[in-house]
Amino acid sequence: MSRGIVQYIILRALMIIPTVLVLYTIVFLFMRVLPGNPILAVVGTKNIPPEQMKHLMHIAGLDKPLYVQYFDYLWQLLHGNFGVTLAFPMGVPVSDYLKLRFPATLELTIWSFTISIIIGLITGTIGAIKKGTIVDTSMRLYSIIAYTLFIPWFGMILQYIFGVWLHVLPTSGRISPNVNLHTITGLYVLDSIITENWPALVSSVKHLILPSLTLGIVLSGAYTRIVRNNMVEVLNQDFIRAYKARGVKDWKITWYALKNAFIPIITLMGLQFAILLGGAILTETTFNWPGMGTFIIDRIEYRDYNAIQGTVVFFAFFVGLISLIVDLIYALLDPRVKY
């Protein structure tokens, strides 16, 4: 059995490769179709002689035919190398940036994810139990409203209320500049706990609240809906009535129902995580959060091919990894799954 799991994980992990390849190809093609290139973006309106331009293009490998560029980069990817930046600055390994930026996004998404799951589970369960009542209706309205909130707008309102008006929470950044934190994982909350740096913990948690609340609430709408609908479905199933017919206590039945309702939600969590990453871009922009989202937007401006390709590939890989983890959790929780 355990050998089965290991093999399953390996093979399932191999399935990430085509996904990564597809996205790399899409982005590569789109990026090269239209004019402009990173060297121009760097040089910009500076008065630089044409020979030097050529020299720079050569260094960046942009003078090679497209298919060579395509496979060159693919070759690098095979070696776990995301290439080097082509603009502002040139020649820095993209992975350096990813190492720096990814933990920020990860920290933001983890917290948002947690918040959204908790809110979603609570509101969805309440809605399902009180099905057909006004409580249910208001939960469903909450779900729709939360889902359709526009992140920059909602974030702006929260910033105004908690940052400017009440003056209780920071509105941007990850940690106060005056706090020294020795980073190990790059997840500030975790790092400050590891290094027992309590001021840093307080500061980083405070910085996290508004962005993760914004993203978490927006995402929770989807969960409220899914949890509610699944719960309603499960509560209608025979085995729930069978539990009742056996005289099992109500809260236990709700718990069993929740467990069953949670199984299909797990599959959706993988996809939700992707949506979360998308939402993270807008959240990061609104809260000046130094994550992957703001990074990719910056790089796009310079048309930094390698950085954008690298980021997209990395995201694709990460999303694949998440769905792998989700599948594993699914397999762990649902005895019906076979490897």
């Binding site: 017919a245 109500d250 069993y256 005895p335």
Partner: protein, 312 residues
Amino acid sequence: MLEVEDLTVYYYTSKGVVRAVEGVSFSISKREWITFVGESGSGKSTVAQAVIRLVPYPGKIQGGKILFNGKNILELNKKEMRKLRGREISMVFQDPMTSLDPLRKIGDQVVEAMTEHGVDEEEAKKRAIKLLKRVNIPEDRIDYYPHQLSGGQRQRVAIAIAAALEPSLIIADEPTTALDVIVQESIMELLQELKNSGTSIMFVTHDISLAFERSDRIAVMYAGKVCELGRSEELVSNPIHPYLKALLDSVPDVHSDKKVKAIPGNPPDLRNPPSGCRFHPRCPFASEICKKEEPELVELEKGHFVACHEVV
């Protein structure tokens, strides 16, 4: 032991009020097997669910009394009801594929049925093994999940759970409909054994042949009402209600060459049931009074009740 008087259940759907069960009365005594038979939509399952107060949403028990050992179940509060369920009255559902929690081991589910009613864990485990043995599930299956068992095995587990605390009444709501005949046979036998050991069985089925096989008494339901009720041999040999007669005529039998005849027309829409006798639009003997007045369930002979104007 169980007396039901004038039970009425309505479903409040968005399309209108469905009068699923109206004015049904009957009783069950100890060690008795009573079968409710009828076509789909006749209300037989609703009656069964009402007895344990598990009518699904949007159904509501509208009126009547359900006296269990003299106590009206409908007046019990939640906690009392919970104590009653599983200990005094338990239920087996139609579809064995969905009536067990797919995420929990069957052993745990059997054990829980007992611990929830105060049996201590150790004792419950011991009894669970015995119970499963009794329903012919090998001991090692105790750690299996429902999906690892076949339909028949699951239904036997469900019966084991229902019988765990030796309740006085087990309600079996079409427990064999989803199963093949050979498995059906084994389930029926299991219920028979339970009955022999002192439990009353309230059996619900649409298969009239099956109904006659093992029941002591049979109640025939049509459109939310009981139209004939009596000892099973009596009903086979001497059916009185035109519906029962027609029903018996419409069912083929393996061992006889009789011709079958369909009942003309369709079952009524219970949002808008026919006036008078609900069978009158399909009844060949219907007269004026049948259209106007609802027939009462009358005891024609001892223990043989019929609701029909024409025969009374």
